[in-house]
């Protein structure tokens, strides 16, 4: 099944003084179970592309289909539900809620979905177990290392059992060892549970995790390797 499809997608940022073509006529198809790595120099439009797939932003022109659903015409409520139920986000800067414990951070997407307290606690604990942080579940983000925070973020991204995992430089702020740990967890989700992963990086050593690589330059797809 085709979980992500971009048709002729362009994104132009307009400011008062200039116009930036962040993406230009991008066509892309990603199948269920793929592990796609998007690479490219800084400013090439990687994050822009990921944000469009994640329904956080809308293209200037073109179509974005998620799970076969055309997202242009969806209401804010429908987009929110799509993000909540189908997509998991992992950010470079972890973006955990500072006032919530690790466990509560993982519970949060399930709270938004209205899952019962008992069920979401059970699931959050299980997910923290998967990322190896069961013992740290009551700690606040500022009491965790960067690697640990990113692993909590992964557990949070997996909370509502998403089909697609979007990762924007997940290892960008981590040392090699923590980075590998994080990548192994993501890879495991992809291989064992068939989660589609789309990962943005400019670290060439991460290329090995993907089954294909999309190279971006100046807002255009320069080439696709593998797949």
């Amino acid at each position: 099944m085709r979980v992500v499809e971009l048709v002729d997608v362009s994104k132009i940022y307009k400011t008062e003084f200039y116009e930036v073509k962040a993406l230009e006529n991008v066509n892309l198809e990603i199948e269920e179970g793929d592990f796609a790595v998007i690479m490219g120099p800084s400013g090439s439009g990687k994050s822009t592309l990921l944000n469009l797939i994640g329904c956080l932003d809308k293209p200037t022109s073109g179509k974005v289909l998620i799970n076969g659903i055309e997202t242009i015409n969806l209401s804010d409520k429908e987009l929110t539900e799509l993000r909540r139920d189908t997509i998991g986000f992992i950010f470079q800067t972890y973006n955990l809620i500072p006032t919530l414990s690790a466990l509560e951070n993982v519970e949060l997407p399930m709270i938004f979905k209205g899952i019962s307290k008992y069920e979401r606690e059970r699931r959050a604990k299980k997910l923290l177990g998967i990322v190896g942080l069961e013992r740290e579940m009551d700690r606040k983000p500022n009491e965790l290392s960067g690697g640990q925070q990113q692993r909590v973020a992964i557990a949070r991204a997996l909370a509502n059992d998403p089909k697609i995992l979007l990762c924007d430089e997940p290892t960008g702020n981590l040392d090699t060892k923590s980075g590998e740990q994080v990548m192994d967890i993501i890879k495991e989700q992809n291989e064992e549970r068939g989660v589609t992963v789309i990962l943005v990086t400019h670290d060439p050593t991460l290329a090995k995790y993907g089954n294909f690589i999309i190279r971006l330059r100046d807002g255009k797809i320069e080439g696709i390797e593998g797949g």
Binding site: N51, L56, D57, T80, F91, P98, T99, P109, F112, K117
Partner: protein
């Protein structure tokens, strides 16, 4: 859970939250304490009118050609339900002379029993057999003492008693009155009953009595008019309600200030947490959820500030009553509860209204813009 999240966010900025609470608290206190004071002031004033509140005065309808209320009608009134007593009064303006005084004064003809029911003697006794009683002011200005002699319309009376000053009355002013028996009255004046003082058994039966009298006596022609003294109480109540509203409006300016400070605090908070809002939107929070989270913070601030404010306003009301009225017995009356609840609701409303705009703004943020915010 959202409640818990809101609580923690407020705790994160302790000083700021505390300031907001204090703002609301002072505002609520000002409004409630002034309300309580106004209510006590009213109660203190009304206290003086309490004895006369259940009275009705029945007089002849001059415009229909009646000069007096006749005996038969008085008897009818007496027999009506809810009537405790009906006191017929004759009155006339007659020349009163004593050693120091020569004046035309209002002379009342009353039975001794009725006079005793209406008045108390400060000096001497209320005895009307060939004697009279006079009001205190009159006694003072005319240098009249118990056992003095005065002449009314040329007829001599011994002063048996001087009436106690009982505060304001609307039927007979005891301070300047001269009261004699009805027998004596008919010897010096040819006037009949100029009014009947009717007392209802209970305050809330006054209207029933009024209706009954009008039905019975005015069935064919408007022979009498009926004037309820409780109307005066209503007027006093109204006047005080207006004064109180005005005072509280002034007090609520302090609440306005508190509202602005909450607005400010919440706006700062939403700006600081822009990125957090973006994250929550990204992982599946609806706009209304964001609205709810921020509004809840305002509600918590409002509830804490308003409850403490309400409790403190009781102390505030007590203090104002003590200082201005030198009397705190009216602080703990049912009306006080009303002002506590009013203060609480106004405080809470202020908090919610001020929180509404920042919360709405937070909920309108586009997820991508919010996420990019550093």
């Amino acid at each position: 859970m959202y409640l818990e999240l809101a609580r923690r966010n407020l705790q994160r900025a302790k000083v700021r939250s505390l300031l907001a609470v204090i703002g609301i608290l002072i505002g609520v206190m000002a409004v409630s304490a002034i309300g309580i004071f106004g209510e006590s002031l009213k109660a203190t004033v009304l206290e003086n009118f309490e004895d006369v509140a259940n009275e009705l005065i029945v007089g002849p309808n001059y415009y229909a050609g009646y000069r007096y209320v006749d005996e038969k009608d008085v008897n009818q009134i007496e027999k009506l339900p809810y009537v405790k007593s009906a006191i017929p009064v004759k009155s006339d303006t007659l020349l009163v002379e004593s050693k120091k005084l020569k004046a035309y004064l209002q002379i009342y003809g009353l039975s001794e029993k009725d006079a005793e029911e209406l008045f108390d003697a400060e000096k001497g006794v209320i005895r009307l057999k060939g004697s009279c009683v006079v009001g205190k002011n009159l006694a003072d200005t005319g240098d009249i003492k118990v056992n003095s002699k005065i002449t009314i319309n040329g007829r001599e009376f011994r002063v048996a008693g001087i009436l106690e000053d009982t505060g304001a009355r609307f039927d007979i002013n005891p301070n300047t009155a001269v009261i004699i028996s009805q027998d004596d009255f008919s010897k010096i004046s040819d006037k009949g009953y100029t009014m009947v003082i009717v007392k209802a058994d209970r305050l809330d039966h006054v209207d029933n009595v009024k209706k009954a009298i009008e039905e019975r006596l005015n069935s064919r022609e408007d022979k009498v008019y009926v004037f309820e003294l409780s109307i005066i109480l209503e007027r006093i109540n109204e006047a005080f309600a207006q004064i109180n509203t005005f005072l509280m409006a002034i007090a609520s300016i302090s609440l306005l200030v508190a509202g602005v400070s909450i607005l400010n605090i919440m706006l700062m908070s939403t700006i600081e947490r822009t990125k957090e809002i973006g994250v929550m939107r990204a992982i599946g929070a609806y706009r209304v959820t964001i609205l709810k989270i921020f509004l809840l913070e305002a509600v918590i601030l409002g509830i804490i500030g308003s409850s403490i404010g309400s409790v403190l306003s009781l102390a505030g009301g007590y203090a104002i009553d003590y200082i201005i009225l030198q009397n705190v017995k009216y602080v703990f009356q049912p009306g006080t509860l009303f002002y506590l609840i009013l203060g609480f609701s106004v405080g809470l409303t202020t908090a919610v209204v001020s929180g509404l705009y920042p919360a709405w703004r937070a909920s309108r943020l586009e997820p991508i813009e919010a996420l990019r915010f550093e």
